[in-house]
């Protein structure tokens, strides 16, 4: 078991916002079971804001904590604000992740962005340039 920060352990022990929104406005999936981590985010959008964010996660301690943190960070944000959440910010908010977990488990922001893009496509909204920087800060 890697050394995890207190924040990671706290979110792993008490993950927030688990679940799947019925009739979601957007769905985003990232990862796969072969690499060991997989996340599915569903979002509810109201008045340009993320009214609700839920997820299901298959993965290690870091992946579960990341999903939980992303859901907390994104809830209540405007779509633009949420699209600007980076994997790096998520890791920082969790007090850091072990080096070897940065790439494989830190997929939460990517999955969230996919859900938002899914919503935008359904609504016919053109995504802005910055929203395509899915992997920004993933180093």
């Amino acid at each position: 078991m890697p050394m995890y920060s207190e924040e990671v352990m706290e979110h792993f022990t008490n993950p927030r916002n688990i679940g799947e929104i019925e009739n979601p406005d957007g769905i985003g999936e990232e990862g796969n079971p072969v690499c060991g981590d997989m996340m599915k985010f569903t979002i509810k959008v109201n008045d340009g804001k993320l009214e609700d964010v839920k997820y299901f996660t298959f993965g290690c301690g870091a992946a579960i904590a990341v999903s939980s943190m992303v859901s907390e960070m994104a809830k209540g944000k405007t779509l633009e604000e949420a699209l600007n959440i980076t994997n790096k910010q998520v890791a920082e908010a969790l007090g850091g992740l072990p080096g070897n977990k940065m790439h494989c488990s830190n997929l939460g922001a990517d999955a969230l962005h996919k859900a938002i893009q899914d919503y935008m496509e359904k609504q016919g909204i053109q995504p802005k340039e910055q929203s395509s920087e899915r992997s920004a800060g993933n180093e």
Binding site: M1, F12, T13, P15, I18, E20, E29, P33, V34, C35, G36, D37, M38, M39, K40, Y55, F56, T57, F58, G59, C60, G61, A62, A63, I64, N100, K101, C104, S105
Partner: protein, 398 residues
């Protein structure tokens, strides 16, 4: 807070009797076994006592036993030492896909240096077919090295049959018995093996002492050159306390073999039955019968192993996993891959290794916690919800 170790494959505590045998050699009888004076006598005698005890555990003569610092070192001495001795000309080594990394990684390096390596496949239970070995042998083969039993899935190989094939072709046969020694009866003559590795920390001896059995006529070059300790095959002042401890552990393992391993196997079987009864979607990895008495390896469908390990750890239950997240290399178990376990199930694999002090009275607690953890993690797994949905769809179709 409960503290239940189900990871005795990682380490066993040093037995009290073993510790008592070790202690004098730290201070009282601290001498160097190579000394010609009185201070060397007891340490020298301790090494020879240990050699005899280890020999007895594996049916070997004491003069055929060489002490090392670990089983990994013994495995390195076999592969590198045999090649360096160059007695039999050739460049081909045969092993299996599920060996320990102390064998596999050496073979990988040798391949880069131009050696040919054949890794025999295993069936879905982890067994190697002696016929496959027969077909893999060429006139360039210089060594066959196949483990006695697998530490991860517990499968016990038909070593006797495999060694017979090697012997017919006059090729040295080595078996890595690290996971098996002390847990199943071993007799090097009955098995017909030429070399065998083991380590005492697998059976209540201290860390830092291993041994290599080497049949007369086999030649290896030392990895560490210097003094003529261990007949010149392992230079460096002997770790007398650890070797004395290994010897005593071997003696105890030999003397208690039947009742101890029966008790452990009974615990393992009851735990398995309890878990499979209470928790749906579990899969057994490894052979249903031909397996080490303390080994239970199961995949928990729809969830990932490290999360399971961490949640069980919070409940005071210590296990290990073959998931990629729990390995430093971030690769899922090569053993589970070789027996054809799907990537998803390999990620959800747990190794439960019992020990002589495992208590059947803990099984209800372990089962209850295991069940809760599996349910909690499944409830947040997209794979589980996908399964539930597809189940419903199938039901509607019917």
């Amino acid at each position: 807070m409960k503290s239940i170790n189900l990871d005795y494959i990682a380490a066993t505590p040093v037995d009290d009797a073993v510790l008592q045998v070790m202690l004098p050699f730290f201070k009282e009888d601290y001498g160097n076994p190579s000394s010609g004076h009185t201070l060397g006598e007891k340490p020298r005698q301790a090494l020879e006592d240990a050699r005899e005890k280890v020999g007895r555990l594996i049916g070997a003569e004491s003069k055929q036993v060489i002490f090392t610092a670990s089983a990994s070192e013994a495995n390195n001495l076999v592969v590198k030492g045999l090649i360096a001795a160059g007695k039999k000309r050739g460049n081909h080594i045969i092993s299996s896909a599920i060996e320990h990394f102390s064998v596999l990684n050496q073979l990988k390096t040798l391949q880069k240096e131009g050696f040919e390596v054949t890794l025999l496949p295993v069936d879905r239970h982890g067994l190697i077919d002696p016929q496959a070995l027969k077909e893999a042998i060429t006139d360039r083969t210089i060594l066959v090295t196949i483990q006695t039993a697998n530490p991860e899935i517990g499968t016990i190989q038909p070593v006797k049959e495999l060694a017979a094939v090697a012997r017919e072709n006059e090729i040295p046969f080595h078996t890595d018995a690290t996971a098996a020694a002390g847990w199943i009866p071993i007799d090097v003559d009955d098995m017909g093996v030429d070399l065998l590795s083991l380590a005492g920390d697998q059976f209540y001896g201290p860390k830092g002492a291993g041994a290599l059995f080497m049949r007369k006529g086999i030649r290896v070059r030392p990895l560490i050159e210097g003094g003529i300790q261990e007949k010149g095959l392992r230079a460096g002042t002997e770790n007398v306390p650890a070797i004395a401890g290994l010897g005593e552990a071997a003696k105890l393992a030999y003397e208690t073999m039947e009742p101890r391993t029966q008790k452990v196997a009974s615990f393992r079987d009851q735990l398995k039955d309890s878990l499979f009864k209470e928790i749906p979607h579990l899969h057994l990895n490894g052979h249903p019968e031909k397996r080490l008495p303390h080994n239970l390896n199961i995949s928990v469908e729809f969830v990932e192993g490290e999360a399971l390990l961490m949640r069980l750890n919070m409940a005071g239950i210590y296990v290990s996993s073959g998931s990629s997240c729990t390995s430093q290399a971030l690769k899922s178990s090569h053993v589970l891959q070789a027996i054809g376990v799907s990537p998803e199930l390999a990620q959800g694999s747990l190794l439960l290794a019992a020990g002589k002090d495992s208590n059947v009275e803990d099984i209800p607690y372990i089962t209850e916690q295991f069940s809760q953890v599996a349910e909690l993690l499944r409830k947040m797994s997209p794979l589980y919800h996908q399964y539930l949905k597809e189940g419903k769809i199938n039901a509607n179709v019917q």
